[in-house]
C-alpha cells in the first residue's frame, strides 16, 4: 500500500456546490419519497405564488394543476396573479439555490432561505431530465416571457435553455411548469388536504386545484382584505448569535460601539445601550471594527443580563380571530360542526424573535366521535403536514388535561380523543423548525407555554359555551312547566272541587324568578351605507354594500320586582356599529352598552343593533354581559367584568 500524503488528499479536496449537496440529500428538503416529493413541490410553488402576490398587495388567485403520465412522471403547473418577475431575475430565482430577497429581512414570510422553488426545479431535473418552463408577465402592455431553464449543479447557476415571448391573457403573474417523478395516486389526496389547509389560513386567497382527470376544486376566498403587511425589523439583542454580532460589527457604518448598538439592533435606546456597555465593562467609543473576540463575548453576555424591551411586533401578521373562524366555518360546512371557537394570544418573544399564537377548535357535527382529534398545524400561514409527533404544538396539546373539557384522554395526557379539530397557527419572524424540510417546530418553552395558554383559553370558552347551553336548557324546561303543566294542575284541581280555574300570571313570575335574555342574529344583503354612530370615530373606511348583521335581543323580566340594569354586547373588532335601538349609552371598539329603563315584572323589552363590516356567519351568537344586577338573576348574559 502506498503512503498517502497530505498533498494527495489535497488533490481530492474541493468545494461542494449547494446543488450537489442537495442531489445527495433530497430528504432533508422534503423530497424523501415520491409522495412527499409531490406535496413538497406543490407547497413550494403555492408558497412562492402567495408571497409574490402579498408583497405586491394583490389578492392571490392561485391555480394548481397536476398532469400524471403513465411512467410515474407528473407535470406540476402552478400559476399566480402576482406582479411577475423581470426577465433577468427569472434564472436566479428558479435556477439558483439560496437566492432570494427574504433571507436577510427580519419579518414574517413563508419562504426564507430561497431554497424552495429552485429545489423543485432541481428535483425535476434530477428525476426526469426535463427543463422547467417559466412564464412571467409583469404588466398589461408587455408580452409574457417564456424561459426554459436547467440548473448547473456544479456552479449553482441557472442555464437558460430557451427564451421566447408569448401572448398571455393575464395582466400579470407567473406560471411554473415542472416535470417531476412523483406518486400521483397516493399523493393527490394529500395535495387536496394541503391546499384546503392552506386556504384556511389564507382566507384572502382563492385556490383552484385541477386533478389529472379534470376534476376542479375551488377553495374560495372568504375575505377581500389582505393580511397586514409586515414591517422589517432589526435583530433583537436577545436573539443574536456571537458570530452574527461580530459579522455585523465588521460591516457597520457606525464608528462608535454605542451608536452601532443603537442603530443596528431593535429595542436599544440610550439607557439600555449604556446599561449593556456598563455590564460588559466596555467603553462606548470603542471602534466596532477593531474590537477583540473577548470584547464581543463580553458584550454578547451583557445583552442577556440587561432588561431589554421586547421587539416591536409590526413584523408579524396574524390571521385574526374573526377570519380564522370564518375560514373554518367555510371549510367545515360539510361537517356542520356544533361550534367553532377561536382564541389568539398577544405577541410574545423567544430568544429575541417575536411570535404570536392563534388557535381554533372545531367541535361536533359529523366529525368522528372516536379516535384522536385532528390536529392542524400552521406556521406563517403554511400548513405543516409531517412529523406531527415531533412538533411543539403536539407537545403542548398533549400536556393539557382535556378530560375537564369533555374530551377523552386516558390518564390525562397525550392527544385527546373526540369529535374535534384543533388548529394552531404560529406567526414569527423566525420559526424554529426542527429541520430544513420545515415540518415540525422545535420544543421552545416560550412557544409551548403560549400554545397551552391559547388552548386553555379556547377550552374555557368551550366550557362557557356548554354551561350557557345547559342553563338555557334548564330554563327552557321551566318554560315548559309554565306553559303546559301548571295550567293543567290548575285546571284539574279546580275541576275536582268545582271552582273556576285560577289566574296564573303571578305564579309564573314567581316560578321563573329570572331575567331572561335571548338573541337572534339575522343577515341582510344591502346596498346602502350603514349609518355611522361610532362615537370614537376611528373607522374612516367607507364601506357601502355588503352584509348587515342584525341582532335582536329580547329581555323579559320574570322577577317579581322591577329590574333596571346595564347591558353590554361584545362586537368583533372589525365591525362597524350601525343603528342601535334603544339608543346605546356608549359604543367603543369592543362593545355596545345600554343603560336600560326599568322593566316591570312580566314585561319585556326588545333591543336591536346593526353591524357592518362582517360577513354572513361571522357573528352567530352575541356575547352579552350585564351590570348593576345580581348575575344569578339573569339567564343568557354574564357578569360584566369591566372593559
Amino acid at each position: 500500500m502506498t503512503k498517502i500524503t497530505a498533498e494527495d488528499l489535497a488533490k481530492k479536496q474541493k468545494e461542494i456546490s449547494v446543488a450537489e449537496f442537495f442531489e445527495r440529500n433530497k430528504h432533508i428538503l422534503g423530497f424523501g419519497n415520491q409522495t412527499r416529493a409531490l406535496i413538497t413541490s406543490v407547497k413550494e410553488g403555492v408558497d412562492n405564488g402567495l408571497d409574490a402576490c402579498e408583497e405586491a398587495y394583490i389578492l392571490p388567485d392561485i391555480y394548481v394543476e397536476i398532469k400524471n403520465h403513465e411512467d410515474g412522471e407528473c407535470k406540476l403547473i402552478v400559476e399566480d396573479n402576482g406582479p411577475g418577475i423581470v426577465k433577468k431575475q427569472i434564472p436566479h430565482i428558479f435556477g439558483r439555490l439560496l437566492y432570494g430577497s427574504r433571507f436577510h429581512a427580519i419579518r414574517q414570510s413563508r419562504g426564507q432561505q430561497g431554497i424552495g422553488i429552485s429545489a423543485v426545479v432541481l428535483y425535476g431535473q434530477l428525476t426526469t431530465g426535463k427543463h422547467a418552463k417559466i412564464i412571467s408577465k409583469i404588466s398589461e402592455d408587455r408580452p409574457a416571457i417564456i424561459t426554459d431553464l436547467a440548473i448547473d449543479t456544479n456552479k449553482n447557476r441557472a442555464e437558460v435553455i430557451a427564451k421566447d415571448t408569448t401572448h398571455w391573457d393575464k395582466p400579470h403573474g407567473t406560471r411554473v411548469e415542472i416535470s417531476i417523478l412523483a406518486d400521483y395516486k397516493r399523493g393527490k389526496k394529500y395535495v387536496y388536504d394541503y391546499l384546503q389547509s392552506t386556504s384556511i389560513v389564507n382566507p384572502h386567497a382563492q385556490i383552484i386545484y385541477k386533478e389529472h382527470n379534470g376534476t376542479e376544486h375551488i377553495f374560495e376566498r372568504t375575505t377581500d382584505t389582505l393580511p397586514r403587511s409586515t414591517v422589517e425589523i432589526k435583530p433583537h439583542p436577545y436573539g443574536v448569535e456571537l458570530g452574527t454580532l461580530i459579522k455585523m460589527a465588521k460591516h457597520t457604518k457606525s464608528r462608535q460601539l454605542n451608536s452601532f448598538i443603537k442603530t443596528e439592533f431593535s429595542s436599544m435606546g440610550d439607557r439600555t445601550t449604556n446599561a449593556a456597555l456598563e455590564e460588559a465593562n466596555l467603553e462606548k467609543n470603542l471602534k466596532p471594527k477593531e474590537m477583540t473576540r473577548e470584547q464581543f463575548l463580553a458584550l454578547h453576555r451583557s445583552f442577556k443580563k440587561v432588561r431589554i424591551m421586547a421587539p416591536s411586533t409590526d413584523c408579524l401578521s396574524p390571521i385574526g380571530e374573526t377570519l380564522i373562524k370564518r375560514s373554518l366555518k367555510h371549510e367545515t360546512q360539510e361537517i356542520s360542526p356544533e361550534f367553532i371557537i377561536t382564541s389568539s394570544r398577544p405577541p410574545s418573544v423567544y430568544s429575541g424573535n417575536p411570535f404570536q399564537i392563534e388557535v381554533g377548535l372545531v367541535y361536533g357535527g359529523n366529525l368522528p366521535k372516536e379516535g384522536p382529534v385532528k390536529i392542524l398545524r400552521f406556521a406563517n400561514r403554511v400548513p405543516l403536514l409531517y412529523q406531527q409527533g415531533g412538533c411543539v404544538i403536539t407537545t403542548a396539546i398533549s400536556s393539557i388535561d382535556w378530560r375537564r373539557y369533555g374530551l377523552d384522554q386516558p390518564s390525562g395526557k397525550g392527544i385527546p380523543s373526540g369529535p374535534a379539530i384543533f388548529i394552531t397557527h404560529i406567526s414569527s419572524t423566525l420559526i424554529p423548525f426542527t429541520s430544513e424540510s420545515k415540518e415540525a417546530i422545535a420544543d421552545i418553552e416560550e412557544i409551548e407555554n403560549e400554545i397551552k395558554l391559547a388552548f386553555r383559553e379556547c377550552a374555557r370558552k368551550v366550557q362557557h359555551h356548554i354551561n350557557k347551553k345547559v342553563r338555557r336548557v334548564k330554563t327552557r324546561e321551566k318554560f315548559d312547566l309554565i306553559t303546559k303543566i301548571l295550567p293543567e294542575i290548575a285546571k284539574k284541581s279546580s275541576n275536582m272541587i268545582n271552582k273556576p280555574v285560577p289566574s296564573l300570571d303571578q305564579i309564573i313570575t314567581k316560578i321563573m324568578d329570572v331575567v331572561w335574555i335571548e338573541d337572534i342574529i339575522e343577515y341582510e344583503k344591502i346596498n346602502r351605507a350603514p349609518i355611522q354612530t361610532t362615537l370614537i370615530g376611528e373607522s374612516n373606511e367607507e364601506k357601502s354594500g355588503g352584509t348587515i348583521t342584525k341582532s335582536k335581543i329580547l329581555v323579559v323580566n320574570y322577577k317579581q320586582k322591577p329590574q333596571k340594569f346595564n347591558l353590554y354586547a361584545i362586537i368583533p373588532e372589525d365591525a362597524i356599529v350601525g343603528e342601535t335601538n334603544p339608543k346605546a349609552a356608549k359604543i367603543t371598539k369592543n362593545y355596545i352598552k345600554w343603560s336600560l329603563d326599568s322593566i316591570a315584572p312580566a314585561n319585556k323589552i326588545d333591543i336591536t343593533f346593526e353591524l357592518a363590516g362582517l360577513e354572513k356567519g361571522d357573528l352567530d351568537e352575541n356575547d352579552l354581559y350585564i351590570e348593576n344586577i345580581n348575575p344569578s338573576f339573569v339567564i343568557g348574559a354574564d357578569k360584566w367584568e369591566g372593559d
Binding site: K478, L486, E488, I489, K492, S494, I507, K510
Partner: protein, 366 residues
Amino acid sequence: MVNKDYSNVIIKIDAIAEKIYNDFQKTEIPYLTLPTRTKSNIRFDEKLNVWKYGKNTTSREAKTLDGAYMLLRTMYMADFIKEMIKINKSSTLREMYYISEGWDLAKFHSQQESNLLAEDLEVITSCMREDFKLRPEEDGARVIGNLTIEEITRNNTKKKIHCQDDVGDAGYSIPYNVESEKITIKGVDADFIIAIETGGMFDRLVENSFDTSNRAVLVHLKGQPARSTRRFIKRLNEETNLPVLIFTDCDPWSFRIFASVAFGAIKTAHISEYLATPQSHYLGVTPSDIENYDLPTDNLSKEDINALKSELTDPRFQDSFWKGEIKLQLKIGKKSEQQALAKYGLDYVTDTYLPEKLTEMGILRK
C-alpha cells in the same frame, strides 16, 4: 261484599285538590308535604309498638319540572280514585298504570312510579290503598292449620272454610282484602303460628304434617310478604293471641322480611299499626345456626355485605340479638338457606331443628 262508606275518603282526596287550588289563589307556588320515606326517618312508636315515620318531611313543589309533574299526576290519580268510588269499581295497580296512558302529560313512565305515588297518596290522606279501590297484583299467600275462616264471597254469601279439612295440600289462599268486611276468624285450636319464607319449606312442613303433630298454623310468606299476608298475620295474632314465629333463609334480605312483619316496613311505615305484628319472633335460620348446625353455605356477595352493613345502621335492628347475629354473619362471611337443613335428611327440620328451636324459645315444652 258489604258496601263500604267511602265519603270520608272522598273528603280526604278533595282536600288535596283544595290545598293546591288555594295555593294558586294565594299566588303561592303549589306544593304538597309528606313524610320522608327513608330508613333515617322511621321512629319507634311506643304507643303502637311499631315503627312509624318520623318528623322529616319532603315537599313536592311545582317549582321544578319533576315536582310539577308529580303534582299533576297526583291530581290525575286523585280524580281517578274519586271516579272509581263513584262507579263502584276497583282496579289493580297495574291497571291504573295502563289507564295513565290516557293522561297525556301526567302519564307514568313505569309502574314503579305509579305504585310509589299510590303510597304517597296513602301517606298524605292517611287512607289505605284499599280505600282507594286499588289492589295489588300479587295474591296473598297460603295457610294450613286447625283454623276456621268465614269469607264473604263475590256472590255476597258467607262461606266457612276449615284450613285443614276444607282445603287441599296447597292450603287456604289469603284474599287481597282481609278486612272484617271480607273475612272473619271463627275459631283456632293451635299453639303457635309459624310463617315460612319459601314455598319449598312450607310444603315440607305440610308433607311432614307439622301442623297436626305440633299444633301449628302454617303461613307461607312467599318471599317479601304482600300487605294482605302481613295484615292477616296481624289479625290472627291479635284475635287469637298465638305467638308468631318467622322462619326464613339466613341472609340480610330474609332479615328484612322479618322486620317488615314484626316492626313495619320502611315503605309502608304510615300504616305499620295495621300491618306489623310486634309479637313476632325470629326463629331462624340465624347465623348462629349456621355454626351450631354446621349447615351448607354460600359466600356472602358484595350486595349481601352492603345490605348487612346497612342493617347495622337501621334503627329497627338495634337490639343486642340482631346486632350480634349480623356481626357474626359479617364475620363468617357465609349465608345459608332454610332447605339446607335437608343435609341431615327430609325429616330433620320437623323432627329435630324446629322442636329444638321452639323449645329454646319457650314455645314447646318437653
